[in-house]
């Protein structure tokens, strides 16, 4: 419990720092956001622009602006889109569920594929199966997700017609994007599972268990896997962030609605409140997930909380 509180206390300053950094982002951007608001609307006089600046608090000193920004953020107000005037928080709420769905689906896929192939490779260490699995895993890490996505679409949706081409509703629309996004993570997990299993399999208590005549399968299941779980959970936590960010590209390939597409179009149209809010949101989610992983750690392996 104390460990949990400690970790939580550590996460708070990180999140504050993240918010300050994203806040600064908007102010580092060249050009005047107020002028940008008026472009395409017949222009505006200097007084008009100043009035808007005053209203938005842009004439205040930077620290004051940050405090005001944080007050709003804590109340769930992330500002409004320069382009559509829609509240950024609403845009995030609308776009996050599909992204989360995609991320979780690819995470699930990556864990199932990664763990099972990792075990297979470890058990058959040095044999052809091991080599093939590891080669595929290496290829998986090396393959750009956007190219994989395009290939999946043209083979499984256009050519074989097994899956809908347009993503959207239903699990069938989720399969191909999840594979495109989760393949690399599956490869990384498989390698991790393999190497930690190999390490554990050589240790004394496993050798003892074997010597006691326990069936090989039970040895792996009961002893080895449990101990190999810790590095695997770490990597899963790290990969979650990677997947969340990877959705930026995969959503683009599959024309899927989500935070990623929202972010990219905001960046392309220089809609900074949206970009800022989106980046902040994803970073905070990532920090929270890592916190969760840390806590999970402690729960699985009591030694950790004592050590630190």
């Amino acid at each position: 419990m104390r460990y949990a509180l400690q970790r939580l206390a550590l996460a708070v300053p990180v999140m504050l720092g993240v918010s300050a950094l994203t806040f600064l982002m908007l102010h580092l951007v060249p050009g005047d956001p107020v002028a940008a608001m008026f472009i395409g609307h017949g222009g505006a006089s200097a007084e008009q622009m100043n009035e808007v600046r005053e209203r938005l608090g842009l004439n205040d000193p930077l620290p004051v602006q940050y405090v005001n920004y944080m007050k709003n953020v804590l109340q769930g107000d992330l500002g409004r889109s320069i382009r559509t005037n829609e509240p950024v928080s609403e845009m995030i709420l609308r776009n996050f569920p599909p992204t989360l769905q995609l991320t979780l689906a690819s995470m699930g896929l990556a864990i199932v594929l990664g763990v099972s192939f990792g075990i297979i490779a470890a058990v058959k260490r040095g044999r052809i199966v091991d080599n093939v699995v590891m080669l595929i895993a290496l290829a998986g890490v090396s393959m750009p997700s956007f190219w994989l996505g395009l290939l999946l679409i043209s083979i499984f949706a256009v050519w074989l017609n097994w899956f809908p081409i347009i993503g959207g509703g239903g699990w069938r629309g989720l399969v191909l994007p999840a594979v495109a996004l989760g393949f690399a993570a599956a490869a990384i997990i498989a390698r991790m599972v393999r190497s930690s299993l190999l390490e554990v399999l050589g240790e004394n208590y496993v050798v003892t268990a074997r010597a006691k005549g326990l069936a090989e399968q039970r040895v792996i299941m009961r002893h080895a896997l449990r101990n190999a779980a810790i590095p695997v959970i770490t990597i899963v936590g790290l990969q979650f962030g990677g997947l969340l960010a990877g959705a930026v590209i995969v959503e683009q390939v599959f024309s899927r609605q989500g935070i990623g597409r929202m972010l990219v179009s905001a960046l392309q149209s220089r809609d900074f409140p949206v970009a800022q809010g989106g980046v902040l949101f994803v970073a905070v989610v990532y920090v929270l997930v890592n916190l969760l992983v840390d806590l999970l750690y402690g729960a699985i392996d009591p030694r950790i909380s004592v050590e630190r």
């Binding site: 994203t22 060249p30 683009q252 960046l267």
Partner: protein
């Protein structure tokens, strides 16, 4: 990993160093040799692009648009009739440059910060590492995206963005090694005979910090190439007509159901390059990290 490498670390600085052993290890590793061959091949292609490409990569030929691979055009042509083989080979130049410059930026800054943090310790260490924690709070491509928001799109800005977002990884590893070295006998000894910090860092710390960082940098080149191609793919990186692989893929994707070659070859080029570098990097790690030595 950093800690275990540090356990063996003194030997890397000796005149008859560990490098010979590492090299022998690498030579025996088939994956390492394949990876090295791929990388070498790639470098040769990039350096000799001017002489080995049959066509100018920018030369359009409207009468030869979207032709499938043939003897004249090994990889076929794109929608303006440019030779894709020539473009993909020139793309190797761009990708290698992106990889090296990004890693140069990230590794250069990261290692310096890491050594300062680890060697000096104290407030400076704390400050540097908290900033690194912040940068690490932005997962994957997100930090690069945010930096591009500030700098604007374009290939050079992509290199800066990818470089900056990789700083914390180098800093962490360099700091870990430097921290472990700070109180080792040979460093204390050097200090006792009156060597300055700069000299100690250069002569004793850096050479011993490098091995794990070399692994990191090698793998970093691969991931920089992937990230940059991804950014070009979503329209924030290289701009046509630059023959950047990700940008070629973007232009080709609308033709994916009629001209498979347009996306296949640049896609393969990315995958093979990254695969080669990854194989080499993995093998380097195995050779440099005694714990995993089998």
């Amino acid at each position: 990993m950093a800690g275990s490498a540090a356990g063996e670390i003194g030997r890397f600085s000796g005149p008859r160093s560990q490098w010979a052993i590492v090299w022998r290890q690498l030579r025996l590793n088939r994956a390492a040799m394949i990876g090295a061959a791929l990388v070498l091949f790639e470098i040769v292609l990039a350096l000799t692009a001017r002489w080995i490409t049959p066509y100018d990569p920018f030369d359009q030929n409207p009468l030869a648009a979207l032709q499938p691979p043939s003897r004249e055009h090994l990889f076929g042509t794109d929608d303006t009739g440019r030779d894709l083989f020539s473009r993909v080979i020139y793309g190797a130049q761009i990708s290698l440059r992106v990889g090296l410059i990004s890693v140069g930026i990230g590794g250069g800054i990261g290692i310096v910060l890491g050594i300062i943090a680890g060697y000096r310790g104290g407030v400076l260490d704390n400050a540097i590492m908290r900033v690194m924690d912040l940068l690490l709070a932005f997962p994957g491509i997100l930090l690069a995206l945010a930096i591009i928001a500030i700098l604007g799109p374009g290939l050079f800005n992509v290199m800066i963005a990818v470089g900056i977002s990789s700083i914390p990884y180098y800093t962490r590893v360099a700091r870990g090694s430097a921290l472990a070295l700070r109180d080792r006998e040979f460093v204390l000894g050097a200090r006792a005979i009156g060597c300055g910090d700069a000299h100690i860092t250069w002569r004793y710390i850096l050479p011993n910090v490098l091995p794990p960082l070399i692994v990191l940098a090698t793998l970093g080149i691969a991931s920089a190439i992937l990230t940059a191609a991804g950014l070009s793919f979503i329209g924030l990186g290289a701009v046509p007509p630059a023959p950047e692989w990700g940008a070629i893929l973007t232009l080709g994707r609308k033709y994916i159901n009629q001209a498979w070659w347009y996306t296949t070859f640049p896609g393969l080029a990315i995958a093979i390059t990254v695969l080669g570098i990854n194989m080499l990097g993995d093998a380097l790690r195995d050779a440099l990290d005694p714990r995993l030595r089998r």
